[in-house]
Symmetry: C2
Subunit: 536 residues, 2 copies
């Protein structure tokens, strides 16, 4: 875009370098051990694997070829919602960072062009991808079209049927689109055997795409959220936002985005992590989910598979269980059972909070937004609108700066709006029974430290988990993998408490622990005090 005062960021920001605690490692479902880079390279270009595992490099330069593509829609506009403010009668300043101006209409384009670029450069000739609502499929199709890669997309059956436009969009980029479950993979065939007209799920479509990519050495797998490198690519959003707010002398009081896999939330908030400690002006990071898929507000923070076929690594995250079948809400992008490890960790550390809204609540908010701001939000983004409206009402008399990410437009979701307009939309509810059932099916994660003997001092258990399992040159953690241990900047009380509970075998704690002597000594002292306190 010509003539912007705010430049497109030249780097992606890797939040792993600044998170006060690291998220858990990926566990290979086949071996029960930490996943190796080699194993990831089967599916992804080496640069993406490096990005995925890198827990220390803060800034990573964006390749020129990707910068050229970003210039097609970046910087995205930051817009003040004065019409909405008046309608709410609030003194809050409400802004939205509008990612729907990307050619395919959502923030997914930010990672689509990057993944296609790296896959091509790695010599892959094809990419396989899943898509739920169709946003990610469109993004990787566009990216593939730009660099001359073939793309095959497994689209969740329910969306495939309901959103022909999204499918045609992908086909216009030259992609092949399959309804998932499809007859092209063992995963798909098994699902079809159980129910030929199955509506599918994102977890299932991921399984199909991974299986297809594994079977083809010339192919890469491309995924639209959850992974660290996807969150990384999305950080252009928050970096631009900082510069845009700076240009008008403002700082945000709240940053709000919806969570499906978590990449838009990561992209929006991670570049503001250093502002969490602002004295006297706490920054409120708000992750918004559907009450029908309440992975944070009602799920568990533990290790789980990213797909229902259990082909993907175990990730430490908030999850409703990989077998969770999300209700058929009009927000396909939020139906995923899990959440990015990075985002999960940040929320689990209390750096942000999660809130959940029902379908009618979010369409009511979206309808008000449309009438006052003109834009029709995608139902996923409407969750952020609902949360923003609630905060703006709560702080009616304060001049707080609220910014939400309007991740995409709702031009492909108008049949849902029609149902709402006509009063024919059903509200969504929390599927408590299904959640309980699928949480019961969570995988058993192998303990990697020695089990604590019964009746042991709780701190001994804590210490064993955190230090006994530390990698050394002659004793790598995770069965020989190249675990990259880094210094934790803080060892939180929360981690210690978890470690204690873990002594009874309930919880798994990541092995990547304190490493510098000073930090280790401080952590041991703090940990000992806390653990003894708890035990008393």
């Amino acid at each position: 875009m010509i003539g912007s005062a705010v430049p497109i960021p030249r780097h992606w920001y890797n939040a792993a370098a600044d998170l006060p605690e690291l998220y858990g490692p990926y566990i290979d479902p086949a071996t029960g051990r930490e996943l190796t880079a080699d194993s990831l390279t089967e599916l992804f270009a080496p640069e993406l694997v490096e990005q995925e595992l890198d827990r220390s490099t803060r800034l990573r330069p964006i390749p020129d070829e990707v910068m050229e593509r970003y210039a097609l829609w970046r910087p995205t506009p930051l817009i003040r919602a004065t019409g909405l403010e008046r309608a709410l009668g609030t003194k809050c300043k409400i802004f939205y960072k509008y990612e729907g101006v990307s050619p395919i209409g959502s923030h997914k384009a930010n990672s689509g062009v990057a993944q296609a670029h790296y896959s091509k450069r790695a010599g892959r000739t094809k990419v396989y991808a899943e898509t739920g609502a169709g946003q990610w499929g469109s993004a990787i199709s566009m990216g593939s079209s730009f660099v001359g890669l073939d793309a095959e997309v497994f689209m969740v059956g329910g969306s495939y049927d309901a959103k022909p436009s999204r499918r045609i969009l992908m086909e216009t980029f030259g992609s092949t689109v399959h309804r998932s479950p499809s007859p092209h993979t063992a995963v798909g065939r098994a699902a079809r055997a159980a129910d030929e007209n199955a509506q599918g799920s994102l977890g299932l479509a991921i399984g199909e795409a991974v299986e297809a990519a594994r079977a083809d050495p010339a192919a890469a797998y491309a995924l639209g959220s959850a992974f660290n490198f996807v969150c990384l690519h999305q950080t252009v959003i928050g970096q631009e936002l900082r510069a845009q707010l700076d240009s008008v002398g403002l700082k945000p009081d709240a940053l709000i985005s919806c969570i499906g896999g978590g990449s838009s939330f990561a992209g929006l908030v991670f570049p503001f992590l250093d502002q969490l400690d602002r004295k006297g002006a706490p920054l409120d990071l708000v992750a918004v989910e559907s009450n029908a898929v309440p992975k944070v507000t009602q799920g568990k923070f533990t290790f789980d598979h990213g797909d229902s076929a259990k082909l993907t690594p175990l990730v430490e995250m908030y999850t409703l269980g990989h077998e969770f079948a999300a209700p058929g809400i009009h927000s396909g992008g939020l139906r995923y059972h899990g959440l990015s490890g990075q985002v999960s960790k940040a929320l689990n550390l209390g750096m942000g909070r999660a809130v959940a809204y029902s379908q009618l609540e979010i369409f009511k908010a979206a309808s008000l937004f449309a009438r006052t701001e003109g834009l029709i939000p995608a139902p996923e983004a409407a969750h952020s609108v609902a949360a923003t409206i609630e905060i703006a009402r709560q702080h009616r008399d304060e001049e707080k700066v609220l910014v939400f990410c309007l991740t995409g437009h709702g031009f492909f979701d108008l049949s849902a709006y029609q149902r709402y307009n006509l009063g024919q939309m059903e509200d969504s509810d929390s599927p408590s029974e299904a959640i309980a059932r699928s949480l019961g099916e969570l995988p058993k994660v192998p303990h990697r430290g020695a089990p604590a003997p019964a009746g042991a001092d709780p701190f001994d258990a804590w210490e064993r988990w955190h230090f006994g399992n530390r990698a050394t040159p002659d004793r790598p953690v995770g069965g020989g993998g190249a675990t990259d241990l880094r210094e934790y900047r803080v060892v939180s009380e929360r981690l210690v408490r978890e470690a204690c509970r873990n002594a009874s075998g309930d919880l798994f704690v990541a092995a990547n622990a304190v490493i510098t002597p000073a930090a280790e000594s401080e952590a041991r002292d703090r940990g000992r005090a806390i653990v003894r306190d708890i035990a008393r």
Copy 2:
């Protein structure tokens, strides 16, 4: 939008003040005389009428309330199409000014918020509008929603059936949408009596909206193109473009936009009129039409009605005849039989040129554009893509700066793309017979000068047309109307030639002629020389 280096223009630019010759006056179809401001005020807010008739004020301030709304999507991005350039192997620099970022996805929003604002300020409580492809209906619905006006939209039947999403979008803003021809107006009932399932036309829908607005004193009529004030509102496009190109030190060699009613073309090119005379670097203004609706390349420049019901004034313009039934192409926005009087005049004066493309040609171009730039153009805008590609290929080895207006996205047109992708799209052709038939039905426009006697000196006829008919305080032109005669800056050779032909009664020449003594004297001299030269 926060953080743009290029400001949103604070004024609209009135090209009438700079056109070398004025377009003809509006003729009241009821009286055959020049339309009065009073008569227009029945339908439009007084400010809009003033804008419509003003032929001298160059810059008109944009009201603050409209500026606030423009800030929701303006300035729109100017994007360099490097991917397309590479695919074409051209040295030309191709840029597109992307108006599809407006909340409703097209440039129509620029006039929608303005018309709603003025209508509300004039005390109207409701607006009636027509819409073809749905772009204008969406724009006026959004504008009405912003200011709290009721809106009723008559949507061309064919589009109503094919594009439910556009209808739902309007309804989400709170509008009522009727399939046209509808049972709610006499015009609609007559059409339905002839054919209950009639596909309708823009001319018919206009007739319905005008009839409904006339019947309701509290209502205004809002129209999406062709009128001068609509062209005026769109000039924010070209003004921003100038600033954006200036910011990178470039001047355009060609400006390209499609023509339905002509407002996007006007908005893009009018702010560059002063560059037409650039020494050694002529500026190429290219208006792109469908070969199925070739109003400029195969129509007539004369007075015609804007609607098939003949309720609207006669406008001097390029037309295929108000009874022309356009073939059912996938570019609803270009199916209008006429063209803005201002744009028609500019083209007729040779300030720009028109080119026509067939449906398959424009979808081929759009498909290449999608794969190289990611954006799916609306079929209307795809005409500009096709023309730009042709120019870029013709000037492959020259570093020309080509800019086209990408008036809107094609997210609501994907079923047409599917047809193209599957090879099932029929090409369009010029409906020569229908054109001949409807041009035969053009209205007889009353000559307002004395008819030339047979065998008279051609200059006498010219002089009588241009000066004999000039208004004076005691002898107003047009039967007592308040004709606002202004100085022509140039009397072109073309006008003189037309006047000569007019001596035989074939052509009507506008009565608004040279008025200052110096200009009159120069015009007489130039005219005499030219006319004598022709007669020799």
